[in-house]
């Protein structure tokens, strides 16, 4: 994917090379991998693979997809992406919280869709680690939105203790 920001041990940076290809279509020919497939499509392929083999492909979920259906398959996944059909649709924040905090997902969690600078810090706090910035926007500019504010009153995935336990 292009226009991608990543968080890793080196901090936040523009990913110059990303080998993932996002597949939005629910059917049709697939290009060579590795791919980020729609949830149903990934599941279908998974059924014909040996169940415990590491999947070549990642998966993306829309806000209507049921996270729980993924629970037993997390360990074969190389990447999970959550879609923001609109930046005003906040369901993926809760999905990210559940994936990280309740389901124990520790791999890459990518924000895709309507991903914009002014929401990046919220996404980061909810556990996203890579951000596919909408392609008409500058990823370099968006980088400035990642850090957000210095104080979080409540709690989040990356800081599970509310401020009153840190104050």
């Amino acid at each position: 994917m292009k226009n991608l920001l990543k968080l890793d041990e080196n901090g936040a940076h523009l990913a110059s090379q990303d080998h993932w290809t996002l597949i939005r279509e629910h059917d049709g020919e697939l290009p060579p991998g590795p791919l980020i497939l729609p949830f149903k499509r990934w599941l279908e392929r998974q059924c014909v693979e040996p169940p415990h083999r590491m999947s070549l492909h990642g998966v993306w979920l829309g806000p209507d997809d049921e996270l729980e259906d993924l629970a037993s398959r997390l360990y074969v996944l190389p990447l999970i992406a959550l879609d923001f059909p609109s930046f005003r649709d906040g369901r993926a924040y809760s999905q990210a919280y559940l994936l990280r905090t309740r389901m124990g997902w520790e791999g890459e969690l990518r924000a895709i869709g309507d991903v914009l600078r002014d929401q990046l810090s919220h996404m980061r706090q909810c556990g996203f680690t890579s951000f596919a910035i909408r392609e008409d926007k500058s990823a370099e500019d968006a980088l400035k939105g990642l850090s957000g504010m210095s104080v979080l009153y409540g709690r989040s995935v990356i800081e599970p203790r509310p401020l009153f336990r840190r104050r």
Partner: protein
């Protein structure tokens, strides 16, 4: 300086408001430079309190749980003078709105607010809004537990909480802990009632799914006997269920009340309970130390208790019937003998829209708060200002000053204490104007003697279905509707707030603006004719029902039936 009777900002709280100003300043600049589209900028400005109205931007400033220090009120006055048309409008959610704001000045206004520990964060947008409680919190004689510490704890927790900033729709939380529910908790997305159990421990009753608007619904209980330590984890559970499952396909069906109604209260409660089981006893559990840290800020001021039957005060009451009437209507019992809380009515009559105060009036109120009280002011959801701690022996001096400034009218809780939204004169959403209707009714009922004889009587006006004037819970509710581009008004009767909250019933076909004062008069006279002794309107209405009012308001229909 801010008195010690209120929550004190520390370096964390200050960092939040100051960094937020810098962040929004950058967003405004990027919007003006064309880097952000209108659509992208919209939720950012809304979450900083900035609306686009008919003629200009409107800025809504948060007054958390309606509590202000005198120096903060002076700052609000200065902002009105320097950036607006020398007045501000207090709202039904205990906030303040400026109606004539220039976008490029907003960051400077927000900076002035931040300098006095104030902000406009989340006063709009699809997020958790300003936490409200009743205006007499901490001083009311009938209070069980002071709700302000938990209100402040909730304010902090809900401020820029990253998971819950893009909810399906706005989300309003109110908390109250008095015999009378003056915070209208049953019309909130979450209503919290704080009480003590038999062992004296703080407990919460949690109500969800209330709200007015297009589909008015009173909230239902989902949890009783919740130990206070679980406040944040429980609210988090409710919000997560709502954020995941609330409808997003239709703005008018997106409030939590629709989800609760669709699932049924039991299924919804089960969902919340399941979510909460994962959160309870975790890091979100409140600690006694945190409660104490916040509660310590709300210490009682240095009261000088006095006998309640001071001779001087008695003489003053005898000497002036007008003063005695104001004391009877516009003061509220206080927990400390010799003190009362004073309601300064912002509704002196037809010339002033409800809730509007000039800069000079705000400054005067701030002075009175310093001179007679402990430097604190409250905003009531009825859009009046409250001075919470006034000695009875100071009431005459205060009333005299208040009267000189147009704030001494003895109509708290009376028919002319009208709650009204800004309506079609300002608001882009409105179907009809509410202010001319308000003025016409106030002009028709200018006789204070008559109003006092009528007793408690609420009249609420909203210019559209969004119900910012809370028309559903007015004894008389007036709703502006649009019929072929004309302004019409629908009337409901029998609404009430408080523990016996009820939604008004529509009386019949709507009226033109010119007909409204006459119709209200007919309703009032019907009440007077059926009233038993000193009955309140709502009791008469509940006894006789809608029919007698209908018959008088629509006589020609009756004739047609004969």
């Amino acid at each position: 300086m801010r008195p010690m009777t209120m929550y004190q900002y520390d370096e964390y709280d200050r960092a939040v408001v100051h960094e937020r100003v810098a962040q929004f300043r950058d967003q405004v600049e990027r919007f003006q430079a064309g880097e952000l589209t209108e659509e992208e900028f919209l939720p950012l400005r809304l979450q900083n309190g900035l609306y686009m109205q008919k003629h200009a931007y409107m800025l809504r400033v948060a007054i958390p749980y309606g509590t202000l220090a005198s120096h903060q009120l002076r700052t609000l006055a200065h902002i009105a003078r320097d950036f607006d048309r020398d007045y501000g409008h207090f709202t039904t959610r205990q906030n303040l709105q400026y109606n004539w704001i220039e976008l490029h000045q907003v960051p400077d206004i927000l900076q002035r607010l931040a300098d006095v520990d104030m902000h406009a964060i989340q006063t709009s947008g699809n997020c958790v809004r300003n936490i409200t409680t009743e205006a007499f919190a901490g001083v009311a004689a009938d209070e069980l537990i002071d709700p302000r510490p938990l209100a402040e704890i909730l304010r902090q927790w809900s401020t820029i909480n990253p998971e819950f900033l893009y909810l399906p729709r706005k989300f309003k939380i109110a908390i109250c802990s008095a015999e009378q529910d003056r915070a209208a908790i049953m019309m909130h997305d979450i209503g919290l009632y704080l009480y003590a159990n038999a062992a004296g421990e703080k407990r919460l009753r949690v109500m969800v799914g209330g709200g007015l608007g297009r589909t008015p619904i009173l909230s239902q209980q989902i949890r009783e006997d919740l130990p206070w330590e679980h406040l944040l984890s429980y609210v988090e559970a409710v919000l997560r269920v709502y954020n995941r499952h609330g409808r997003r396909d239709n703005k008018y069906k997106a409030r939590i009340k629709i989800l609760v109604k669709a699932l049924g209260i039991e299924a919804f409660a089960t969902e919340v309970e399941q979510e909460w089981q994962h959160l309870r006893d975790g890091p979100a559990q409140l600690t006694a130390a945190e409660y104490q840290r916040v509660a310590d800020a709300f210490v009682s001021p240095d009261y000088a208790p006095q006998p309640d039957d001071s001779l001087d005060f008695g003489t003053q009451l005898m000497a002036s019937a007008d003063f005695a009437r104001w004391v009877a209507r516009n003061t509220q019992a206080h927990k400390v003998p010799g003190y009362v809380s004073v309601v300064l009515s912002t509704k002196p009559g037809a010339d002033t829209p409800p809730g509007d105060l000039t800069s000079a009036q705000m400054e005067a109120v701030a002075d009175w708060a310093d001179r007679f009280g402990f430097g604190e002011i409250r905003i009531a959801h009825e859009q009046n200002l409250i001075l919470p701690d006034i000695r009875k022996t100071d009431l005459l001096a205060l009333w005299t000053l208040a009267s000189e400034h147009g704030l001494g009218v003895a109509n708290a809780g009376l028919l002319t204490d009208i709650i009204a939204c800004p309506g079609g004169d300002f608001c882009a959403l409105a179907n009809a104007r509410s202010l001319p209707i308000t003025a016409a009714i106030q002009a028709r009922f200018a006789d204070l003697d008559f109003l006092h004889d009528l007793g408690d009587f609420s009249l609420n006006i909203s210019g559209c279905m969004n119900a910012c004037g809370h028309h559903h819970i007015g004894n008389i509710g007036i709703l502006g509707v649009d019929k072929n581009g004309q302004e019409w008004y629908q009337i409901t009767l029998g609404g009430s707030q408080g523990k016996a909250a009820a939604l008004g019933k529509v009386i019949g076909p709507s009226f033109s603006a010119e007909q409204i004062p006459g119709v209200i008069e007919t309703v009032v006279h019907t009440f007077v004719d059926h009233r038993q002794v000193d009955e309140q309107f709502i009791d008469t209405f509940n006894r006789i029902g809608l029919e007698p009012f209908k018959e008088r308001v629509y006589p020609s229909r009756l004739e047609a039936l004969v």
